[in-house]
Symmetry: C2
Subunit: 428 residues, 2 copies
């Protein structure tokens, strides 16, 4: 059960891949009657304490209702809502593509194939496609999982640009508490790019008190066993990790890098993550809804994956990046920061990941980069903010795919994105 | 510790009355540095799991940040924000009054005497006074405690007006699950007016597994002890209560009456409480912020005291009632419902409470009524929405008084309200 509960935010899944996965329609949370009734019947309850909120298909309700399951901080908005022009097109659903597995599909079919809860496509700054399903809608907030990391990375790039943070200094220069940990000798840049040699396995399928389980317990994402003597809090957990070798090697996706980076960002920025996201983005950008951030027992946000927001606001963020940092009549990000975000990392450091569809890709500053020049933020179970400058296209997507790893989702998603980009680029 | 944790929402306090209570200034949560730092130092942490969030003065932070401590449902808003005209006056702070204990004070001094976190005075529909302190501000949400009950009562009056709910029918007519409980033979009206003979003691000072502690555990407001075999959920708890005599006797303040009423309202209104508050009030009234409602483990809102909202939105609600149900260009409540809400209950049924300052008062439909014609919603630790039709005045107040019971707060509050009403009524 621990693993199931831990999975809520860190993304394990109890569903064997080889099982006959029911379709999106069969697992629609409204059709299933999840969380309906006064009181909700036992079998329809989505609960944190019994692990059901982290078990597919109940995840299809939970991902759109995180604050009803765990404590959350507010990321406040303010002022008038910034316009997001709409010019819906009806021709996208029929755009064909072939999955990496060779199956024929269309953009419209991919919505359910990916267990999409909501998706927006912006072309040249206008919404050309917007669709919601299940327990999610334009007024809702959906968990972004590791898309959150890209916000932390962007804040770090801002602090670097402002001269407050030196990427070549060791992390411990800014957070002395990290000096005794494996992060002590890592540079800020190595942390930013996940090229540290931190001894941590992001293996969600591991049993027992795995690294992931210990992280979840420390971060209040899983109930704390009575005999648990591990650290309390996200930052305290990061400080316990050791290095297993020299830093600066290949990119290895490990969430504690983001936790260490968040700690640096909070110290250098002199404010907690939720407030920095609000001050830098949510308030000046005229977001239409406040956002939330899951917190540990002492009130530290989960920068590794705890953000929840409206789909349109994620679309605004992606479009702001695409437009060189301008949005809502303001320069939200300096052009130099946008340039840094859009700059790919070292592709050779990424090779060993062997992600299908990501040949020639890289990871830098908590953003992913495809060989075609696209930059994007990724979260398990299908979350994404995808910026394709050449196609003048931004995609924001929330999903509740039964499988956590995007390794299982990319073979459908990436060809679909490429097809829609090509379609939009050629005009109608 | 259980009692301390339970106190977060149901309002016990660990502070002996006779202790030298520090002042509001001495317990300002910002001055104290509560929840500041990355991470927050141990002694500055306000946590749900160690009971500190329910211990004064840490309550002064907790009451303004409930969703960072417990799971909450959203009460969504929508559309343009309704105007709330402002015509601030500087003459109110010096208005003198004498407390029921005979002490001389002024309106301005009463702010800190009552450990006020935020207060708005509306006169003839305009904000003449607005002030915030501590961890609260115009953009924040504060727990309303039992002010929540008046929303449940108003929804019930709406359903009565619409012919969907008959106040003379037994509660079990609408919620068959209550048939075997003490509520089974109570009428809806008796539940509405808290004149049932339910066997439940609202004694926050009781030790051990008291009625209040059991309610808190069932409702997820306190950790569930391993050996606890009691009910799971707010509704399930209400269904376990027995009657200790005939219904229809004197008014006795017992929160489970509101829980039973909420159950009736959810069944008859065919939607959970948070959605009904949103549909009836938050959306049509153009509230400026979404609100939240604390939930039990199965997602039932805590209608007895779990609502959190912005101060200005509470002011809007009170002003809507004062204006005969009209707000934002819409008839939010039919005049007949407003009339029913503003109609006092049976004062003789209230006499035994012996509340100081409430001689001749009454309780009806989850609203309090003073002998002077004022109608108001009350929550422990100083929460209130106060409607004084004669003075054309509405007061919305959030506070974090060290003492839960308004018996300790009324002796300062009520004379202050009377003085400011008289002052406003005579003009400048």
């Amino acid at each position: 059960m621990l693993k199931l509960v831990a999975a809520l935010l860190v993304g394990a899944t109890a569903l064997p891949l080889e099982a006959q996965t029911p379709t999106a329609a069969e697992t629609d949370p409204v059709t299933l009657g999840l969380m309906l009734g006064s009181p909700v019947p036992r079998e329809k309850q989505v609960r944190a304490d019994d692990g059901s909120s982290s078990t597919f298909p109940k995840t299809r309700w939970a991902f759109s209702n995180l604050q009803a399951l765990v404590p959350t901080q507010v990321i406040p908005r303010s002022g008038p809502v910034s316009p997001l022009p709409t010019a819906l097109r009806t021709d996208l659903d029929s755009v064909p593509f072939t999955t990496l597995d060779g199956a024929k599909s269309t953009w419209g079919q991919a919505f359910d194939l990916n267990f999409t809860d909501g998706i927006i496509v912006l072309h040249k700054g206008r919404i050309v496609y917007e669709r919601y399903a299940g327990a999610f809608g334009p007024d809702g907030r959906h968990i972004a999982f590791s898309v959150t990391k890209s916000f932390v990375g962007t804040l770090a790039e801002l602090l670097i640009h402002e001269g407050k943070l030196d990427p070549d200094q060791p992390a411990s220069r800014y957070v002395p508490e990290l000096a005794g940990s494996g992060f002590g000798t890592a540079t800020v840049r190595q942390v930013l790019d996940m090229r540290t040699a931190i001894d941590f396995s992001e293996d969600y399928a591991a049993s027992g008190l795995s690294d992931v389980a210990r992280m979840a317990i420390a971060g209040n994402m899983a109930p704390r066993p009575k005999d648990f003597t591990g650290p309390d809090g996200n930052f305290a957990f990061a400080a316990t990790l050791k290095a297993s070798g020299p830093h600066g090697g290949p990119f290895v996706y490990r969430t504690p890098n983001t936790t260490a980076l968040q700690w640096i960002v909070e110290r250098v920025g002199a404010a907690p993550l939720n407030q920095q996201i609000a001050t830098r983005f949510w308030k000046p950008m005229g977001m239409e809804q406040e956002a939330t951030l899951a917190v540990d027992r002492l009130g530290t946000g989960f920068g590794g994956g705890g953000m929840n927001a409206a789909l349109r606001d994620y679309a605004r963020f992606g479009e702001m990046v695409r437009q060189g940092g301008r949005w809502n009549g303001k320069q939200i990000l300096p052009p130099a920061v946008v340039k840094s975000i859009l700059t790919p990392g070292d592709a050779s450091a990424f090779d060993a990941t062997r992600y299908r569809g990501l040949e020639g890709a890289s990871y830098r500053s908590q953003w992913w980069h495809r060989a075609g020049g696209q930059t994007y933020a990724v979260g398990i179970h299908g979350q994404a903010i995808y910026v394709d400058p050449k196609a003048e296209m931004v995609i924001a997507r929330f999903a509740s795919h039964p499988v956590a790893s995007n390794r299982s989702i990319n073979p459908t998603t990436l060809p679909a994105y490429d097809a829609i980009a090509a379609h939009l680029s050629k005009g109608r």
